[in-house]
């Protein structure tokens, strides 16, 4: 059974058109005009149990709206979605018992109280038996290394400490699916790595299905096995991280540095950046044979350095976004 099933899911919002100027504003008081904004457009995908899926897209692509429909916060305008076989908008309460959610921008912990008090309250919210809670909390405290912060008011915790407590809190009721919306937003490099390691462990050890949106591609590369990219409300890419990486195989980034100035023109291939002694090229291997290009570069002068790299994931996704922006569809 799919953990998450989404079929032609759409969400539109009615937005008031606000004309410029006082006169137009007054006119709109009597005869307001509205327009439909399509935030999510016929999105379809399936996520199997235990999968770790990245849900990507530029700002305003519809990621958060989709997650909110999957968690029962918003009702779809059309289409259908189910999580663990439940309809989120009709069976919200039943679903809430089996899913966890971490929204990086919102806290479920009480700001003025220590996490231990929030955990106690969340135990009551999720109806966890007191003896089960008494076992579960120390287990999570140890696993997330949050022992020193459990008795400090949340307002006194750093963002990194807080987000670790947030993720631990979202796992109190042992959810089968974990939704994370920008979990590493605002975190420094070290804490981001810690959070990624924790997320990977949750998926590996507990078999939890993880559905994560993030602008940080480090999160995606290290934690996820599959990426769904949406743009302008629709899915433009849905493939494994491996396949996504393969998209870059036909593009190689070559950097060269010579001991003395050389001519960097290589037949039809021009450098994208150059100085007198160094240059970088983007080589499309469908048009140029890589060994020939490398041979030509080696023979051009006395080499000091030569690098050949695949395209960074960030650039691949940026190109997908850009292609989506200009055509409304996927393309590389």
């Amino acid at each position: 059974m799919s953990a998450i099933s989404v079929q032609r899911l759409s969400k539109s919002f009615r937005s008031k058109v606000r004309p410029e100027g006082l006169g137009s504003s007054l006119k709109s008081l009597i005869a307001p005009s509205y327009r439909e904004v399509e935030a999510v457009r016929e999105v379809s995908f399936e996520v199997e149990e235990g999968e770790v899926v990245a849900f990507l897209g530029p700002n305003g692509a519809g990621k958060s709206t989709t997650i909110k429909m999957l968690t029962g916060i918003l009702r779809p305008s059309s289409g259908y979605c189910s999580v663990l076989g439940l309809d989120p908008s009709r069976q919200r309460t039943a679903l809430a018992r089996s899913i966890g959610a971490v929204f990086g921008q919102r806290s479920q912990l009480w700001f003025h109280l220590p996490p231990s008090d929030s955990f106690r309250l969340l135990g009551a919210v999720y109806e966890i038996e007191p003896e089960v809670l008494a076992r579960r909390v120390p287990e999570l405290v140890e696993r997330f290394g949050i022992g020193p912060y459990m008795d400090m008011p949340v307002r006194k915790l750093s963002l990194g400490e807080r987000i670790r407590c947030e993720i631990a809190a979202s796992l109190l009721h042992a959810p089968k699916v974990l939704f994370l919306d920008e979990p590493t937003i605002g975190l420094d490099l070290v804490v981001r790595r810690e959070v990624r390691a924790l997320l990977s462990e949750i998926a590996r050890r507990d078999g939890t299905t993880v559905f994560i949106t993030s602008h940080d591609l480090g999160d995606i590369e290290r934690v996820c096995k599959r990426a769904i990219i949406i743009h302008h409300g629709g899915v433009v890419v849905d493939e494994s991280m491996k396949e996504l990486r393969h998209r870059s195989l036909s593009r190689k980034f070559i950097g060269v540095k010579y001991a003395s100035p050389v001519d960097f023109e290589l037949g039809g291939l021009k450098p994208v950046k150059r100085t007198e002694t160094a240059a970088s090229y983007v080589v499309d291997t469908n048009e140029h044979r890589l060994p020939e290009v490398l041979r030509a570069l080696v023979g051009r002068g006395e080499l000091e350095d030569l690098t050949v790299e695949d395209e960074a994931l960030e650039d691949i996704i940026a190109r997908i976004y850009a292609a989506g922006a200009s055509t409304g569809e996927a393309g590389l």
């Binding site: 918003l74 009702r75 919102r106 479920q108 009551a124 949340v154």
Partner: protein
């Protein structure tokens, strides 16, 4: 039965956590609680001077006015001490903060209401009991009747304010209307019924039901009449059900948001 037990545990823990959160700032808690009691006491002084000069107002003597103040103050206080978010629903909806409550396996309205306590409301709540204790004729029966009446009053206050706040689902911003409802409810409750005309009285027996918080309970207290409790309970249930239904209707229109926020 298990459901009821689970909800009682949730409400009890929620209340305990809310109290812990406000007691964290001890000085603020004490200043606001006793400040509110002093504020209410100032009105007692005003009424004492007025009634001392004119004899009675609309047929109410000083003891009647004080009893009304005790009932309304404790009902209002209980409503805001137990359900502190009752007049913040609009703000929570506008900021998209309802997301958090929708993610939890609890009734959304009850969860929102029970997630906060208002510090000054503790002063209001205590003030009513203080006045009752100072008025002549205190007895266990009178005390028990007062306690039941303020629970009913708190339920009606909560239902009315929650309904007014739920207008934000339909209007976008209903802050002004909600504030007006609060002002009207308190004004109608804290003055003698007979000073208002028939039209106004119709209002506070229907859309702004302050009569069931002040005038009917006053009559019950004066006659120590428990017979008024069943109809008052029925009326409170009716308003609570209507308010709940109105909130659920509005919830279908909830559009969420992306503003950053924390649970205070």
């Amino acid at each position: 039965m298990d459901r009821v037990k689970a909800y009682l545990r949730f409400l009890g823990t929620s209340f305990a956590v809310n109290v812990q959160a406000v007691v964290e700032y001890r000085a603020n808690f004490l200043v606001q609680t006793f400040g509110m009691m002093l504020n209410n006491a100032a009105f007692a002084f005003f009424w004492a001077v007025l009634i001392g000069k004119v004899g009675n107002v609309g047929g109410y003597g000083f003891a009647d006015v004080m009893l009304i103040w005790a009932l309304v103050s404790s009902s209002f206080g209980l409503s805001h001490a137990a359900f502190g978010n009752v007049r913040s629903i609009g703000q929570i909806v506008q900021r998209g903060e309802l997301d958090l409550y929708l993610l939890q396996p609890k009734d959304v309205l009850l969860n929102v209401l029970a997630s906060r306590t208002v510090v000054s409301a503790w002063g209001d709540f205590a003030y009513g009991f203080l006045v009752l204790a100072l008025l002549p004729g205190l007895s266990p029966g009178r005390f028990a009747l007062f306690a039941v009446l303020i629970v009913i009053g708190a339920a009606i206050f909560t239902a009315t304010f929650a309904a007014a706040e739920s207008l934000c689902f339909f209007l976008g911003d209903a802050t002004g209307i909600s504030s007006a409802v609060t002002e009207f409810m308190l004004s109608f409750s804290l003055y003698p019924e007979s000073i208002f005309g028939r039209g106004m009285r119709w209002v506070f027996y229907t859309i702004l039901p302050s009569a069931y918080i002040a005038y009917v309970p006053l009559a019950a207290m004066k006659a120590l009449d428990w017979g008024l409790i069943p109809p008052l309970l029925g009326i409170a249930c009716l308003y609570a059900a209507a308010s709940y239904g109105f909130f659920r209707l509005g919830l279908r229109r909830y559009e969420s948001g992306n503003q950053m926020g924390a649970r205070i």
